[in-house]
């Protein structure tokens, strides 16, 4: 079939390219709910599904290399202006729970290491509730809230997470609330159960309990999604997850925020029913293992294990090096110092290397991240201003100015290291647009202060969309050197009556030789010239 397609010399661009919205919400019957075994997920992803040989390019991108809006992702920061207020608001729809009224506990929490329960407020909104342990107030709840703000701004579907403060006396147990006891049996929840649940919770001096309230997601839960393959009974799910750019690029975001628990267990598919069927929306949930929050060896909430983010839970090479050196070789991350700030876990920026970062165990999508996937994600990271980071961190209500300052500074430094690593690996030109008779673009690398472009070599060609051939148009010309940042660089578009033109642009930079890797921009004639394709060549 593919051979036939190639023989037919397919047009590169179709009339509706570049697609901005993936129509992956065709009505389907409700798929089956699935469960996930944590142990099996670790084993399977550690010993199977590792990439072998060349990794193919991401398959769900449009011709600009962008991720279209879909049931997985909504373009936000970078695709449009996002105010710091909007970033701080996150996925807010109905707001935090109404804690001025009685709250009804309707279920105990199952799974995960944090105690908690599900409650309904007086307005009828359902929230999943977790709290911090007495030994580490604010740690987990702050991370969960702040993390949700970042991942929402990145573009993922996430729940609305908010900090709230409740009193034990406010809590009523719904007659239908059940707890699961040993052996998987369920029985009605009692006041003792609730007291035990809350026994380890950190309390304020006035007795209130700080919680993270996660608003229940819309729709019917279907269980987690996997970072590989597709869901067999979801007809809209046609792109293998390990080849989705937003899941590959998630590695960059997860590294920035040290979301080492970025695995299937912390995802949730929801079925949104409608007339004649429904569709599945895919969410990331639970950000309590970000920003240095995590768990200790006893699986209690605590500052994250120093291994997290640095080594898989099972990784052969460091084991063998330690074994055969009789323990004299020591994992470098063991000696990383972490300053202690109330409410902030083990996160730092000096030792952090984005390319060396690891989740708890191999993630099939992360392992297939290519340079262009990483560039896409790093460009989003680059869009977070210092004020945006500050606004997101403030939502965690750490209650300690020094803690907040440390976390903000650390995230800004990790952001800069992320950008500094990925931008020099490719030609960091972006935001291509034709204005009047000029092709304009941004050099994100220059904007980030990573190097200076001494010039741009632009080769124009007429592009035959039917055959894919390029017909050179004159000789290479040199565009103007960027004179100020971030003023877009204008390159005159040749006066030609072709249907498609292509500009192959290399950036001359003595500080960043990799910027010479060409970016080819395709223009299509409509009412005027429009950018229809971007190709980041090797």
């Amino acid at each position: 079939m593919a051979a036939t397609a190639l023989a037919a010399a397919p047009p590169r661009f179709l009339p509706d390219d570049p697609v901005r919205v993936d129509p992956d919400r065709l009505p389907i019957a409700k798929p089956a709910e699935v469960d996930l075994s944590t142990a099996y997920d670790v084993i399977e992803n550690t010993f199977q599904h590792r990439p072998g040989g060349d990794v193919p390019a991401a398959v769900n991108v449009n011709t600009l290399g962008e991720v279209p809006d879909s049931s997985w992702f909504t373009n936000r920061i970078g695709a449009r202006a996002m105010s710091v207020e909007e970033i701080a608001r996150g996925a807010a729809t109905v707001g935090p729970p109404d804690v001025a009224q009685p709250l009804t506990v309707i279920a105990s929490k199952s799974g995960g290491i944090t105690p908690g329960f599900t409650m309904r407020d007086a307005r009828g909104n359902v929230y999943f509730v977790k709290f911090d342990p007495a030994a580490h107030p604010n740690l987990s709840t702050a991370a969960d809230v702040i993390g949700s703000r970042f991942f929402h701004a990145f573009g993922y579907h996430v729940p609305q997470n908010d900090v709230a403060y409740i009193r034990r006396e406010q809590l009523r147990i719904d007659p239908g609330a059940r707890v699961t006891v040993s052996g998987g049996k369920k029985r009605p929840m009692t006041e003792d159960d609730l007291d035990r649940n809350l026994a380890s919770a950190a309390r304020l001096p006035d007795g209130r309990i700080r919680i993270v309230a996660s608003l229940g997601l819309a729709g019917e839960p279907l269980g987690p999604f996997q970072y590989r393959g597709t869901r067999g009974d979801d007809a809209n799910d046609v792109f293998p997850h390990e080849h989705r750019r937003e899941l590959r690029g998630l590695r960059v975001f997860a590294a920035w925020l040290n979301h080492d628990d970025s695995r299937s267990l912390n995802t949730q598919d929801m079925f949104l029913a409608g007339d004649g069927g429904g569709y599945v929306r895919h969410h990331l949930i639970d950000f309590s293992s970000t920003l240095g929050s995590g768990s200790n060896a006893r699986r209690e909430i605590a500052p994250q294990n120093p291994r997290a983010g640095n080594e898989y839970v099972m990784e052969l090479a460091p084991m063998l090096r330690t074994l055969f050196s009789l323990g004299l070789w020591e994992r470098p991350w063991r000696r990383v110092p972490y300053p202690e700030h109330p409410g902030v876990g083990r996160i730092e920026a000096d030792f952090f290397r984005p390319e060396a970062w690891r989740p708890e165990y191999p993630n099939p999508a992360f392992e297939r991240m290519r340079d262009e996937d990483a560039f896409w994600a790093a460009a989003i990271v680059h869009e977070f201003s210092d004020d945006a980071v500050r606004a997101a961190v403030a939502t965690g209500e750490l209650g300690d100015a020094e803690s907040e300052r440390y976390l903000v500074d650390t995230l800004i430094r990790r952001r800069d290291k992320t950008v500094a690593h990925y931008f020099p690996r490719t030609n960091p030109l972006a935001s291509f647009a034709v204005e009047g008779s000029a092709l304009r673009f941004r050099n994100l690398g220059e904007e980030a202060g990573l190097g200076r472009a001494e010039g741009y070599d632009v080769e124009w060609s007429v592009f035959d969309n039917a055959t894919g051939r390029h017909l050179p148009l004159g000789s290479p010309v040199s565009g103007p050197v960027s004179v100020s940042v971030p003023v877009p660089v204008p390159v005159p578009v040749p006066d030609h009556d072709a249907a498609f033109l292509a500009a192959r642009i290399s950036t001359r930079s003595s500080t960043c030789p990799a910027w010479a890797r060409p970016v080819t921009v395709y223009l299509r004639r409509g009412a005027g010239w429009e950018v229809v394709g971007i190709e980041r060549g090797p």
């Binding site: 397609a5 065709l26 998987g184 067999g232 084991m319 323990g327």
Partner: protein
């Protein structure tokens, strides 16, 4: 997988469809929609395999762990009940805080593949932490086991009654003292019952106990087929108490001071255990004796938590009453997986005993530790004083599987002048 992805990519990004006919979509959206319609025609729910289904079922059951499985507080278990017993299967009954009272109930029953039997019952306020099992005491007053007493965050008083019955049919005996030859290997049956009352204190940094009770003992022919029974080579002079085993009033006091960072998997700190006991023969004084013993262990991280130097010194001395003798079956042994690892279990016995151990441990992974070790020790015969000359030594290499809190299993290879031993055991060396 890769081929299918390339095929998908070809279909998704090519401008023509599979065949150049009227059905060819004209737009990208139509193309993607066609892929979805094709998939809808063959949609099928996922079918996890057997292993995945099993693990899901176990995890959804929300059992704390495999080891937490029990029926009404009765837990199936497999463990070593004594040195040389090999693996025993059995059950432990554990009902802490009966009816929300301060009273705990513990009992166990085990039978090993070498025919060893062990039964015990404790009722009262036991030394334990939370819902965890109390430290299993197979010897009652033994200084070896004091290090296994769990620490608790808040101190608690201990007061309980205990009954224990043991049947060990293949205990090794080579004679007494350091010069006992390997050719003198025999076996005997040791059977005893101990009824006692125990009181004390269990705290965050140690424990102190006092116990008083009655011990009944019986020694008979060993059942090990490869070696002769004890009576074939020894008599009551060379094996005191072989002819007659009296009952004893047993009094003991022990103290544990524990500064280890994690008692079951220490990386730094130390502990010292001291025990003093009296075995007072009922109706006579031929076998009355006192014993004092100490067990000191130190752990130091060598520049990193992954490198640990572990040291241990253990000494025990029996002092018989005037004219009395110490029964051979109550004399402390050396040899086996927790003492002199390059020698057979119970290789040496004596009225005095000295053991020195050193291990260099390094973690290749938090759950996998390796060790180089050396052991030295000696059992001293009657009238001999402690001396560092004539120590039996061994050395070896070990591998351990562990959690943060405990060593689950270990495999040690130990070599001595007499033997090379391959030891697969549950629990730590020390």
């Amino acid at each position: 997988m890769r081929a299918s992805v390339l095929l998908l990519a070809a279909v998704v990004f090519s401008g023509t469809a599979a065949a150049a006919d009227d059905a060819v979509p004209e737009t990208r959206v139509e193309r993607w929609t066609r892929l979805r319609r094709e998939k809808a025609a063959r949609a099928a729910p996922p079918h996890p395999g057997f292993l995945e289904r099993t693990l899901i079922a176990l995890e959804k059951a929300e059992r704390p762990s495999f080891f937490g499985f029990n029926v009404g507080g009765v837990y199936p278990r497999a463990l070593n009940i004594a040195s040389g017993s090999e693996t025993a299967a059995g059950i432990r009954l554990w009902r802490p805080d009966l009816g929300r009272s301060l009273v705990d109930l513990h009992a166990s029953a085990f039978y090993s593949i070498r025919g060893y039997e062990y039964y015990d019952l404790q009722l009262g306020r036991l030394a334990h932490r939370g819902d965890e099992f109390p430290a299993r005491s197979t010897r009652g007053d033994d200084v070896y086991e004091l290090g296994d007493v769990a620490r608790v965050d808040a101190g608690r008083t201990v007061l309980y009654g205990s009954a224990r019955w043991r049947h060990y049919p293949q205990i090794g005996f080579y004679g007494l003292g350091a010069d006992s030859p390997t050719e003198g290997r025999t076996s005997f049956l040791s059977q005893d019952a101990l009824y006692e009352v125990v009181t004390g204190y269990q705290g965050p940094r140690g424990a102190a106990t006092v116990r008083a009770g009655v011990m009944q003992a019986f020694v008979g022919p060993g059942t090990e087929e490869e070696v002769p029974s004890i009576g074939a080579l020894y008599d009551d002079r060379s094996a005191p108490g072989l002819e007659r085993q009296p009952d004893f009033i047993h009094l003991a006091a022990s103290l544990l001071l524990d500064g280890r960072d994690q008692p079951g998997n220490p990386h730094r700190g130390g502990m010292i255990a001291l025990a003093a006991s009296r075995f007072d023969e009922r109706g006579g004084d031929e076998f009355t004796f006192n014993r004092i013993a100490g067990d000191a262990r130190a752990f130091a991280s060598l520049g990193s938590p992954q490198r640990v130097l572990a040291l241990r010194a253990l000494a025990s001395a029996d002092r018989p009453a005037s004219g009395a003798r110490v029964p051979f079956y109550l004399q402390e042994p050396l040899g086996g997986s927790r003492t002199l690892r390059g020698f057979r279990t119970f290789r040496f016995r004596g009225e005095k005993l000295l053991l020195l151990q050193a291990e260099y441990r390094w973690e290749a992974w938090p759950a996998l530790e390796f060790a180089l070790f050396v052991d030295a020790g000696r059992a001293y015969g009657r009238g001999e004083d402690f001396a560092t000359s004539g120590l039996a030594t061994d050395y070896g290499f070990g591998m351990r599987l562990k959690t943060h809190e405990a060593v689950l299993a270990r495999f040690d290879v130990a070599r001595s002048s007499e033997d090379t031993r391959y030891l697969l055991r549950l629990g730590p060396s020390f």
